[in-house]
Symmetry: C2
Subunit: 396 residues, 2 copies
């Protein structure tokens, strides 16, 4: 009866109350779980009703909840999203990849063709080149600040193998990668990247790629800005020059402070962020673990440094091994908090010696009017005396 009246009145408040009731029912645990048999085995597992990690769809992107994650693998359903015309639904039976242009044997590969070729797997991150917020306010999460990066184990065939199959000609120096979505997303990629580590991947974290990650197959360019790892890839054209597509002329070009701009700024620079403690977390006095992730498009993370005094002094964090190239690396730092206000921050240093910059250093090079691509500043969190943690307010 109560239920019917609530639905009948139908106000926002009563619906919210109903939502809470449904949640309470779903999460009603027996007082003593050892006294009642549990649920039997199932075909597909579900999360605990006490856990609610979610992406945040806003406009054209949806961010990974970094503050909820541990380790380095991003569950496939929480991998960040960015697409240029929505997620197409592609029947794998109709999927094909054409490789043509400056090649000896133009070839159409079905998905089955790709799967018959030698496969390889690698764990690496992807990051949107626009993984940035211009203005930081106190109530911002790691997800909002840097949630356009995620990590998976990807499996597929190397582009080098495919290029041998089709006989790429020596004069070919660039290739066009074209997606099968409604944006017909296109980017020009140097052939050298194909010989280095590019792949066409059809599996993610053990299973078929998820639709929003390019099902049934995508290009994977480890360490490079996410948009170049063209999803739903349907065509690769070899050429002796860049194609100068819309996505690399009107967009994905970075103005610099000196008035010029850089194009084809493919590699994502080293970055890190503390994921715990972070907003909206709360800290207790005494020994606490600070954890976060660091990554670089240039091979491995060499070192992560932590500051608990707003950047005056820095100490090395522990890195979780194995430290893989072009991969999220989990760092750990044990910190004894004395209960006084503190500003904590992390900075990544990669194998090239590059040090993750502050906002000030970044804008000295890039200029104030910068398009928000390839911006990787240090993030600072303020731990207040009551233990609440907020983002340090910053912005232009």
């Amino acid at each position: 009866m109560k239920f019917s009246r609530r639905v009948f009145f139908g106000s926002a408040a009563s619906l919210a109350a109903f939502g809470r009731t449904a949640f309470a029912q779903a999460t009603q645990s027996p007082r003593d779980p050892t006294k009642a048999p549990g649920t039997p085995p199932s075909t597909l597992g579900q999360r605990s009703p006490f856990e609610h990690p979610q992406r945040t769809p806003i406009g054209i992107v949806s961010r990974t909840p970094l503050q909820d994650l541990r380790g380095t693998i991003t569950p496939a359903d929480l991998h960040y999203e960015r697409h240029h015309a929505g997620v197409p639904q592609i029947d794998p039976a109709n999927y094909s990849l054409l490789i043509h242009g400056m090649v000896d044997r133009p070839t159409v590969f079905t998905l089955a063709d790709l799967e018959r070729l030698p496969s390889t797997s690698r764990i690496c991150f992807l990051e949107c080149s626009g993984n940035y917020q211009r203005r930081l306010t106190a109530a911002m999460t790691a997800q909002q600040i840097a949630g356009l990066t995620s990590q998976s184990e990807w499996t597929g065939v190397t582009l080098a193998t495919l290029f041998r199959e089709v006989g790429v000609r020596p004069q070919a120096t660039w290739f066009l990668a074209e997606g099968g979505d409604a944006a017909l997303m296109t980017r020009s990629i140097p052939v050298d990247k194909a010989h280095e580590d590019a792949m066409i991947v059809y599996a993610q974290n053990g299973e078929a790629i998820r639709p929003e990650q390019g099902y049934p197959a995508r290009l994977l360019l480890p360490g490079w800005e996410g948009n170049t790892s063209v999803k739903w890839i349907r065509r690769i054209e070899l050429s002796d020059r860049a194609f100068m597509t819309r996505e690399e002329t009107s967009k994905y070009t970075d103005p610099l402070a000196n008035g010029t701009a850089r194009m084809f700024s493919f590699v994502m620079d080293a970055r890190s962020i503390i994921t715990s403690p972070s907003y909206p977390g709360k800290l207790s006095r005494g020994s606490n673990e600070i954890i976060g992730i660091a990554w670089s498009g240039y091979e491995r993370i060499r070192r992560v440094e932590l500051s608990t005094d707003g950047g005056k002094t820095w100490s090395a964090a522990n890195l979780q091994t194995p430290v893989l190239p072009k991969a999220h690396t989990r760092f750990h730092f044990q910190w004894d908090w004395d209960g006084r206000e503190a500003v904590i921050m992390s900075r990544a240093i990669d194998e090239t010696g590059y040090v993750q910059p502050t906002r000030e250093q970044l804008f000295a090079a890039r200029g104030d009017g910068s398009i928000p691509y390839h911006l990787n500043p240090i993030t600072a969190w303020v731990v207040r005396p009551d233990g609440t943690v907020v983002c340090r307010e910053e912005g232009l």
Copy 2:
């Protein structure tokens, strides 16, 4: 109208027809996905409607679909299940772990307490000691034959850290691990394992452990039979002797051919299985990739060998790097199939030099009346001239 009549008649056949209609609607892809905008970003991703990986719940277990997987990570919702009294639903706010017995400071840890301690992550397999089928018939999948093993990236605190916190006394040589499920699952574990690599883990593949894997926390004993990695762990008691619990006297003891039995046979021996091609797959003539997984509870897989002639000759497969200790290792082997009937099989060799046995070798040591624990025979697949692949029939 048609829909109503079908539901009204309600026969099995018409319901099946309705199921197919619903599937066809769900998987109706536009003829040209480049001509229609796709779906917008979302909070949680879904699998493509063309993909249906599932565990197979049968009685007390549910197996991982090995034949559908690539790489080495098992998606959390496909991790195999084996529990002794169902999956309890535990409110993490009510969770605690008591460590007592031969310790200086008996301590109750809440989940928050565990999370404040130094954390670490590792990728390793789990395998049920009963990962075995007595009789193999043609229409059996890799899932049915060996699907009681899965792999995750686990995160938590080492048991060595917890043992230092509570001050384990020098005379303590064993500990009891007790689960918080209705089975009150208990096992005795040597303290040495705690110092080697045991962990209390609360995260799996980046997120909170799934309920059927021990939410909110479980013991993890890398390389050891699955039941010892006690789930929903609520109590650890230190002692100077084994506890001789029901699960290690009436069960989890292995009769041997010589009439004796072995107890505390913790470590899972090296094993491998070809996952593709496998039943119900189909092969085409020409170059094909044979892939599978190999694993050992004793450190790393050193080598995997492939035979395509029923075990007469063997060749080394390629191992996917990094090869991690106590972890599923993906192997690859390129095979040119000439269209004649062939029997393909794989065998794993680990760092100790141990070679995965045939069924005959295994039963020479273990006897015919063997309880199906710790049995790791080579699996053979028959490729028929029409390209269909079936399991080679075997059994006592």
